[in-house]
């Protein structure tokens, strides 16, 4: 299956050793076949997007008429999008998602990087135990916590606030592990020189270690942001008020409110999908590398 003449590997970071130079293809037929198979699958993979888009561009009457058709009888229209944007809360929900996901990502990065730095670099008592507890906590599935967390947020009177959305979502134990492993690889000499010069730990951390760790910080940020942006269960429990909902939860309420308005349902879904898809188109390389480096650390 794998031929001897691999094209340039997509995930190989820039500047890494080049692969063996391409030789004339030995089995062009197998590669042509693979391209055909993958193309067919890729087109199939895009069908749900395409069908949602076509539906969203129909009038409600066309969307609900049989036999179903890719080209609507009364032409394409932006009616559904306009209606959804006028009457719905989608812009508000998008802002809520943006704000809470950004806050979750920022807090996660700060607290995870600093504890990872301590574990990687500082010899303090109880460090091994701390690391052990953090690693062990990876096994706790978030759904197990929803009942006590709800109770806790209720008794703190935080249900239906941004706090309830943000605070419980900033513990990402696997990411502490990922960061610690990266910090371990940074040469100690860089810091020891600064230590000799009398620089404090905090200064070394912020001016030497963090700038050197940009790739891994970006990877962790991407992973945490996508997770927070799409999280459903906890925000669904923690918020009821329409003006506080995040996009995924808001969409769930739209579905029941609009009922059989198929074009508007699809327009809403596409508007909700748009931000991350656009981000992906721009930062494809970083996102894919980020997933590849953090993915196996666990979710």
């Amino acid at each position: 299956m794998a031929t001897t003449t691999l094209a340039k590997p997509a995930l190989r970071p820039k500047g890494s050793p080049a692969v063996a130079p391409n030789r004339p293809a030995k089995m062009p037929l197998s590669r042509i076949l693979a391209t055909v198979v993958v193309s067919v699958l890729a087109v199939g993979w895009l069908v749900p997007f395409a069908w949602a888009t076509v539906t969203a561009l129909k009038t409600e009457t066309d969307a609900a008429s049989t036999p179903i058709s890719w080209i609507p009888a009364s032409g394409f229209t932006l009616e559904a999008f306009a209606k959804v944007l006028q009457s719905g809360n989608i812009p508000t929900w998008t802002l809520n998602s943006l704000f809470t996901s950004a806050a979750i990502t920022a807090i996660t990065l700060v607290i995870s990087a600093s504890v990872a730095y301590a574990i990687s670099r500082i010899d303090f008592r109880g460090k091994r135990m701390l690391m052990g507890v953090i690693v062990a906590s990876i096994i706790i599935p978030p759904p197990v916590l929803i009942i006590p967390l709800f109770q806790q947020m209720q008794s703190l009177d935080l249900i239906d606030t941004y706090w309830a959305l943000i605070l419980p979502q900033v513990i990402h134990s696997p990411m502490v592990f990922v960061l610690k492993k990266f910090f371990d690889q940074i040469p100690r000499e860089l810091e020891e020189a600064a230590l000799m010069d009398g620089a404090g730990r905090l200064r070394i951390f912020t001016t030497i270690v963090l700038p050197l760790s940009r790739p891994i910080l970006a990877a962790v940020a991407i992973f945490v942001f996508i997770g927070a942006w799409n999280n459903f269960l906890w925000p669904f429990i923690a918020t009821n008020e329409s003006s506080l909902l995040t996009l995924p939860v808001g969409l769930q309420t739209i579905k029941s409110a609009y009922g059989i308005q198929y074009a508007q349902n699809m327009a809403s879904a596409l508007l909700a999908a748009l931000p991350l898809i656009v981000v992906f188109l721009f930062f494809q390389r970083q996102i894919i590398r980020g997933v590849a480096t953090t993915g196996l650390a666990g979710t």
Partner: protein, 317 residues
């Protein structure tokens, strides 16, 4: 938090692991400073960790021993009554069974299809970015978006799936309303949604296999299939173990897409254990009972994790 956990006896020089500083006095002050710095850097994480992970685990365990309701009534201890009730609760067992069924029939395609796609794309196809874009982009969608897309395609009269079946001369299927089909319909949506993640992990792993292996094999006359099965597949072993474990743990937590597409129906045929926890607490108002089921679920996850530790130890031994 940090002051509470920083030992007052930080001055004990014997504990210092650093031996690059000669004088004992300097050693002890360095070690004490390291203790303070270490816990200070850990403190922010620890505060959140204790407040939103450790404490809920403890309070959930306590709650599971009470008859607490959502309104706060009946918070007295009732011992293990919730657990004995749970183990005799046929709905709980059914939800657990549904969850294991979903885990089985979703994990297999999510691993096998991901590997097949990665192997195909890694054959040196042109336009690498296009394939990654196609297969990975659904992963960036919220579960609600995926559910809206698929519920629409599963629509009995207006859906694409039945339209396709009709063109092939196959009678229509009640995708989400037929108890024997609904779980498979959920799995199809799930595979479309998340297979791109495993695909990326496999692609990265394939590209980390040294080229020399393939070159040596092709000098020995091994063909493409032969190379895949005797080089790629064995080299992917550790990655596969990790992907399978992570996939099983992720599938066991299934809730979103099932709740959104079928609400656990028809007739409880797709209700997962997480949905049962959710409903016992928020529809049935029984927080105590719901907390007990959460712990039964956690017990299951722990068992699987222990099995994993056991099997990976055996492998490395």
């Amino acid at each position: 938090m940090s002051t509470a956990t920083t030992p007052a006896s930080a001055g004990k020089s014997s504990r210092s692991r650093r031996n690059d500083i000669p004088a004992p006095a300097a050693k002890s002050s360095r070690s004490r400073r390291d203790d303070i710095h270490g816990w200070a850097f850990s403190a922010p994480f620890l505060v959140f960790f204790l407040a939103f992970l450790v404490w809920p685990m403890i309070s959930g365990a306590i709650m599971s021993l009470t008859g607490k309701s959502l309104t706060g009534a009946n918070s007295g201890f009732i011992g293990l009554a919730n657990y004995t009730e749970a183990f005799a609760d046929s709905d709980m067992w059914r939800s657990l069974g549904n969850t294991l069924y979903f885990t089985l029939i979703s994990t297999v395609p999510l691993v096998v299809i991901a590997l097949a796609l990665a192997a195909l794309v890694n054959m040196g196809l042109p336009a690498q970015w296009l394939w990654r874009l196609s297969f990975f982009s659904p992963y960036l969608l919220a579960s609600t978006v995926v559910s809206l897309f698929f519920a629409w395609m599963y629509n009995p009269e207006l859906g694409l799936f039945n339209d396709l079946l009709a063109k092939l001369g196959i009678p229509p299927v009640a995708w989400l309303n037929d108890p024997s089909v609904a779980m498979w319909a959920v799995v199809i949506a799930t595979v479309w949604w998340t297979v791109g993640f495993n695909f990326l992990l496999y692609l990265a792993a394939l590209q980390n296999i040294p080229q020399q292996h393939y070159e040596a094999a092709s000098l020995d006359g091994a063909g493409g299939w032969r190379q895949f099965f005797s080089i790629s597949l064995p080299q992917l072993g550790p990655t596969t173990v990790m992907i399978v474990i992570l996939q099983i743990l992720a599938s066991l937590k299934v809730f979103d897409q099932i709740y959104q597409m079928t609400e656990g129906g028809p007739g409880g045929a797709t209700r997962s254990i997480v949905q049962y926890i959710f409903e016992a607490g928020f529809t049935g108002y029984r927080l105590g009972y719901s907390a007990a089921i959460s712990y039964v679920f956690f017990g299951l996850i722990l068992l699987i994790a222990l099995a994993q530790v056991f099997t990976t130890r055996k492998r490395s031994a």
